[in-house]
Symmetry: C2
Subunit: 122 residues, 2 copies
């Protein structure tokens, strides 16, 4: 996987976790692929994916069973929505609106873009 240079890799991987949760590919109680498997999938060091797991456990999104693996918490979806929403409202949205303003783009331009770029293929 390719990563942006502007953000730590383990956080970008966390975002992929959030996607899986929000898209309900992972649901409460599901076992999450192991730290080692994730490292192979994302082509990073296991230590890096471990940081992602620690980060998400700290947020209460996943929990651990010793010797078995990590699982999605009962309220994992709710916590993920809360986390993403907070980040979106406090950081992403204001920056986005500011950039649109600076570039002189309108909501109609955005509408056109969205129509031309079907929202999902993953």
């Amino acid at each position: 996987m390719e990563f942006r240079e502007t953000q730590a890799i383990y956080l970008q991987i966390a975002d992929r976790f959030f996607e899986n949760i929000l898209q309900k590919k992972w649901v409460s109680g599901d076992k999450i692929p192991s730290i080692r498997d994730m490292a192979v999938e994302f082509e990073v060091n296991p230590n890096t994916t471990m940081r992602t797991f620690n980060f998400l456990q700290d947020k209460g999104v996943i929990y651990n069973k010793r010797g078995i693996g990590y699982f999605l918490a009962d309220d994992g979806l709710e916590k993920t929505i809360a986390l993403k929403k907070e980040q979106f409202l406090q950081e992403e949205l204001p920056m986005f609106v500011k950039t649109m303003q600076l570039l002189g783009l309108t909501l109609d331009d955005l509408k056109t873009y969205v129509q031309r770029n079907p929202l999902s293929d993953n």
Copy 2:
């Protein structure tokens, strides 16, 4: 000034430069405040602002007169627009749309937000 932890400080300062240029607070040929003054204003080490200046000079947005200072290039505004637009279209916009989709937000929600949050106060 407070900085986000997810992006290098010198790049966040560069964004402030871009704002000044896009808002036409700085126009072609204008002398830009010195590396040392900028360091004081942003409360960082002069080495850090120097990285911003080097970055922007590398992009062709500003140029240097030895012993005098940095100045906004003739096509500084155009280059800034091009840079921001590219970044916006390739990174910010796709991520933004994806997050909106994941959170189940619509363009109407966005419209409401924009109406409630007047676009500028700087």
